[in-house]
């Protein structure tokens, strides 16, 4: 993706990257470090630039700069596009998709507004002094809050969103002339087929020393150690190097549980400093100052999901803190730069709406839906400190999860992944697909909710982490439909026996016993053609 979008205008792109880098919070610290280091070295005045450059090779400053650039290019892929491309095309090249997304946004905004008027609640309101004090006191155990949420309904659920996606049509597509799409997604988008996926995830398909298979087998290089111990030693060395791309490579063959927290940070380019702690404190203050209508939505969602989940109920209080902060974080808005979506706008009370006094509502620009909490919940098993938890969640959301609930032509967007699943099902599980078609059974609605949540809440946490390792290591969500296919394949025989949608749903209702890495390998096995015929 990065490569093909590199235009001819390399210099312009490099300049833009350089100037963009100077705007990041990384830059001032880095500059200060460089200056301190340079002042202590004896470089000749004449050859200062060259000597500096030569000296810096391989030092920690060099690694820092490389990491920063690496992460910048990943967070803002649009920086690499041709500078002449209009912004809206960068966000979404297809006009009809752009239209569909904006009408979806309008629908959500309307829904929130009507909820506000129904409940006679303002979108945002300043808390009274007494309320602020009470909230501060209860901050550590918000789950015991007595706010009545019975009237609150989620704005939408993945099912509603799938209906929208299934209704999308390409106005330029002549169904009578071109090849038919057989599934419920009717968009002729280019998505990876099984060959492309095997190529993409080749290492995963071939590697047989993955810690997600069996940690207790003998090590890859040292036969006197178990694989788990060997990887832990290797992982400790990788962590020391603190180099994003290297950490990514390590994770490809399984992440040692005890190093996952720090390795994920390195892959995501996160280094939690005092600044982060202060920023989080500010968000906590913002929660304390104002009450938002979306607070109720997210609180309700936590109640409906995490509080009732046998793996995550323990962490409900931390989830309250993290999510209430998230919806006030305006830095989240930056992900809209490379998203087909735009933040809903509102005007402060008493002001006339002009383009200048419009603000995003909620401040982060995201309207929660049923299950949103599950993007955050698993991280509670990884980070004890709410600050670490928060920034990891935010980074993962802004890199990956946002794509799962917007209308976009991106291959990793919800519609692309849904289509990928349907095409995989047709090509790899033809017999099953045929059976389902005959019986009028739709598998997509069942697996779509897994995909939209990144399987969170459907798998046990240790297995989910193996899946999220794969997402981070390959920087792609395309593994989600692959796993969905693998689960369906795994239950193939049971599904072949069912004759109704409800029965199919029952077969796939509980997938907590699934083991991710073996299943992915099964789905990516290149000689599966033989299995299928047999």
């Amino acid at each position: 993706m990065l490569r093909q979008e590199l235009g001819t205008n390399i210099t312009a792109i490099v300049n833009r990257l350089a100037s963009e880098l100077q705007n990041t919070p990384f830059y001032p610290d880095f500059l200060a470090d460089v200056q301190t280091t340079m002042a202590t070295q004896n470089f000749s005045k004449e050859r200062f630039g060259t000597e500096c450059y030569e000296w810096a090779q391989g030092t920690s400053l060099d690694t820092k700069l490389r990491n920063a650039l690496y992460h910048l290019m990943h967070v803002q892929p649009t920086l690499l596009a041709n500078p002449d491309t209009p912004r809206q095309v960068l966000k979404e090249p297809l006009t009809y998709i752009r239209k569909a997304q904006s009408s979806w946004e309008r629908r959500l905004v309307k829904c929130v507004n009507s909820m506000a008027s129904e409940l006679a609640m303002p979108l945002a309101r300043r808390r009274t002094k007494q309320e602020r004090e009470e909230l501060a006191e209860r901050w550590a155990d918000l789950s015991t809050d007595e706010t009545d949420l019975t009237m609150i309904r989620p704005v939408y659920a993945p099912k509603d969103f799938l209906e929208v996606l299934a209704s999308l049509r390409n106005p330029n597509y002549d169904e009578s002339v071109e090849e038919n799409l057989w599934g419920s997604i009717q968009l002729p988008l280019k998505v990876n087929d099984i060959k492309g996926l095997v190529e993409l995830y080749g290492e995963l398909a071939c590697c047989c020393k993955h810690t997600g298979l069996d940690e207790s087998v003998v090590g890859e290089y040292k036969v006197n150690l178990t694989l788990a111990d060997e990887r832990l030693l290797l992982g400790q060395k990788v962590v020391e190097r603190n180099h994003g791309p290297l950490s990514r490579e390590l994770i490809k063959s399984g992440c040692p549980t005890s190093l996952r927290g720090v390795l994920w940070h390195q892959v995501l380019g996160l280094e939690i400093t005092d600044k982060h702690c202060k920023y989080f404190e500010e968000l906590v203050k913002a929660v304390n100052q104002h009450e938002l209508l979306v607070d109720k939505l997210i609180m309700k969602d936590i109640q409906l999901t995490a509080s009732n989940d046998d793996q995550y109920f323990v962490f409900e209080d931390i989830l309250f803190q993290v999510l209430l902060c998230f919806f006030r974080d305006t830095e989240v808005l930056s992900h809209f730069e490379h998203s087909s979506a735009s933040p809903p706008l509102a005007v402060a009370r008493g002001n006339t709406p002009t383009p200048d006094n419009l603000v995003a509502y909620p401040p982060c620009g995201v309207i929660p839906f049923h299950g949103f909490t599950m993007y955050a919940a698993p991280l509670s098993c990884l980070y004890e400190d709410p600050v670490h938890f928060y920034f990891t969640f935010r980074e993962m959301y802004c890199r990956y999860w946002y794509r799962l609930h917007i209308v976009t032509s991106h291959t990793q967007g919800a519609v692309g992944l849904a289509l990928q699943f349907e095409l995989l099902l047709q090509s790899c599980e033809t017999r099953l697909w045929q059976h389902c078609t005959t019986m009028n059974i739709q598998l997509l609605p069942i697996v779509f909710k897994w995909i939209v949540r990144g399987f969170s809440g459907y798998l046990v946490p240790d297995q989910l982490f193996h899946l999220w390792d794969v997402i981070l290591a390959w920087e792609s969500l395309e593994v989600l439909p692959v796993l969905a296919l693998a689960v369906v394949s795994f239950r193939r025989e049971n599904l072949m026996d069912v004759t109704s949608q409800t029965a199919a749903e029952a077969v796939l209702a509980d997938i907590t016993a699934m083991r991710v890495i073996p299943l992915l390998k099964l789905a990516l096995a290149t000689d599966r053609t033989r299995d299928r015929e047999g």
Binding site: D141, S258, G261, D309, D310, F315, D317, D462
Partner: protein, 429 residues
């Protein structure tokens, strides 16, 4: 496995009935000829009592040892463990080593405990030495959190002893109480306190044969733990027993108490958290070596407690028993043994609970039955490992003695180096 067994049970529990049914067994009454009896501890005791005059034949099997109270009554357990420590010390075993402050390095897994009224004076002495500690008072012979309360002032215990004056006369006393140091620095997860329930199956005491179940769970308080310790009257915060948590709402007085239980008992998860997730969480947040150490300490705690009672337990060959160990982990990741239940609840509170307990019973039956599926006291009780299910062999002294002629009770374990580890337990892990 194909044998149709006549079974008998005095418990109307679906997890039991379903298991017996699945195996094609049929139910008979206790007066008929039965082969397999799943009984309550009380029924079992009366069956074994001299008065009953019942003699079991070689093909009968029952799920309790006649003297299980040596392990499950808090007062007897404390007595047995104290004796075990003394004996090891007398033998000069490295297991009984103490650190600079006089604490046992390996055997300090039971919070300091006294029996009341017998040890009252000892307790007062200890209390005066450490006046700022909280103590938990429990009736020795009851379970499910009945009659438990906390004290942190000597006056409270004096008042209690005055109120129960009549029964405080040692000759008249019906209920012995045990008073133990309360673990004041429990590990909190998500700000909540919990205890750990592990299942341990013993198929024989001499030689000792024990198994530990991999699917234990943590039981969480529904209310947040208040570290200031001023909420002594709200028992829900302190007791994580499901029987108590379940009745939380009804017992609590409707006061404007900021920490009174506001949440309903959750019927989806029942406050139970899988031990597998605990392990994942601890490895992720505290590192692998500390987590491994905790779980190995838990294993040792179970082994020591079983070894402590093994010499005096009536090791009847008809018997096997599944115990529920209640363990509290403190914030230094040290496990403390709180109590042992001989009849862990077979009632399922949630769907997951039902699955777990069904599998537990299934695995127990697989291990205790000889290969031909018919109970037989002459069987050596060495099942093949494919019968273990989710159990792990903790210890089999018979297999161990046969395989290792250098059998030494005295070899140290923790920090004692790899070789001594292998010596003391070759089959572990």
């Amino acid at each position: 496995m194909t044998a149709r067994i006549a079974y008998c049970t005095d418990m109307e529990k679906s997890v039991l009935a379903n298991n017996f049914e699945k195996r094609g067994w049929f139910q008979v009454s206790p007066d008929d000829e039965w082969y397999f009896y799943w009984a309550g501890a009380q029924t079992c005791r009366s069956l074994f009592s001299v008065d009953s005059g019942y003699r079991m034949n070689d093909n009968q099997m029952i799920n309790h040892f006649p003297t299980h109270y040596e392990l499950t009554r808090k007062d007897l357990l404390v007595k047995n463990i104290k004796r075990y420590r003394r004996e090891l010390e007398r033998e000069g075993s490295t297991l009984a080593a103490r650190d600079a402050t006089g604490r046992y390095i390996h055997l300090d897994f039971l919070p300091t405990t006294f029996m009341l009224p017998a040890d009252y004076n000892l307790f007062v002495e200890e209390f005066r030495r450490n006046p700022n500690t909280t103590w938990i008072l429990k009736p020795a012979g009851r379970s499910q959190g009945v009659g438990i309360f906390l004290v942190n002032k000597l006056a409270q215990i004096k008042k209690w002893s005055r109120d129960t004056k009549s029964s405080f006369n040692p000759t008249l006393v019906k209920d012995t109480y045990v008073i133990s140091r309360y673990i004041e620095n429990p590990l909190l997860i998500g700000g909540k306190k919990f205890d750990l329930r592990m299942y341990v199956l013993v198929t024989s005491y001499r030689p000792l044969k024990a198994y530990m179940y991999k699917q234990g769970f943590c039981r969480f308080c529904t209310v947040r733990y208040d570290t200031s310790g001023q909420e002594l009257d709200n028992m829900f915060v302190h007791l994580t027993n499901v029987s108590i948590q379940k009745h939380g709402a009804s017992i609590s007085h409707p006061s404007p108490h900021p920490y009174s239980p506001q949440e309903e008992y959750n019927s989806v998860h029942g406050g139970k958290w899988p031990v597998r997730t605990l392990r994942l969480y601890l490895e992720g947040t505290r590192g692998k070596s500390r987590t491994d150490r905790l779980f190995s300490d838990i294993t040792w705690l179970v082994v020591h407690s079983l070894r402590a009672v093994a010499p005096i337990m009536a090791s009847d060959r008809h018997c096997f028993e599944c115990y529920g160990y209640d363990i509290i982990i403190d914030d230094q990741l040290k496990p403390w043994m709180i109590e042992v239940n001989a009849s862990p609840s077979m009632t399922s509170t949630t769907a997951n609970d039902r699955i777990l307990k069904y599998k537990l019973v299934d695995d127990i039956i697989s291990i205790v039955l000889p290969p031909d599926g018919v109970p037989n006291v002459h069987w050596n009780k060495i099942p093949s490992p494919d019968k273990f299910g989710d159990f792990e062999l903790l210890l089999d002294e018979e297999v161990y003695q046969n395989s290792d002629h250098h059998h030494q009770h005295t070899s140290g374990h923790r920090g004692g180096g790899k070789t001594s580890d292998r010596h003391s337990a070759p089959r572990w892990k």
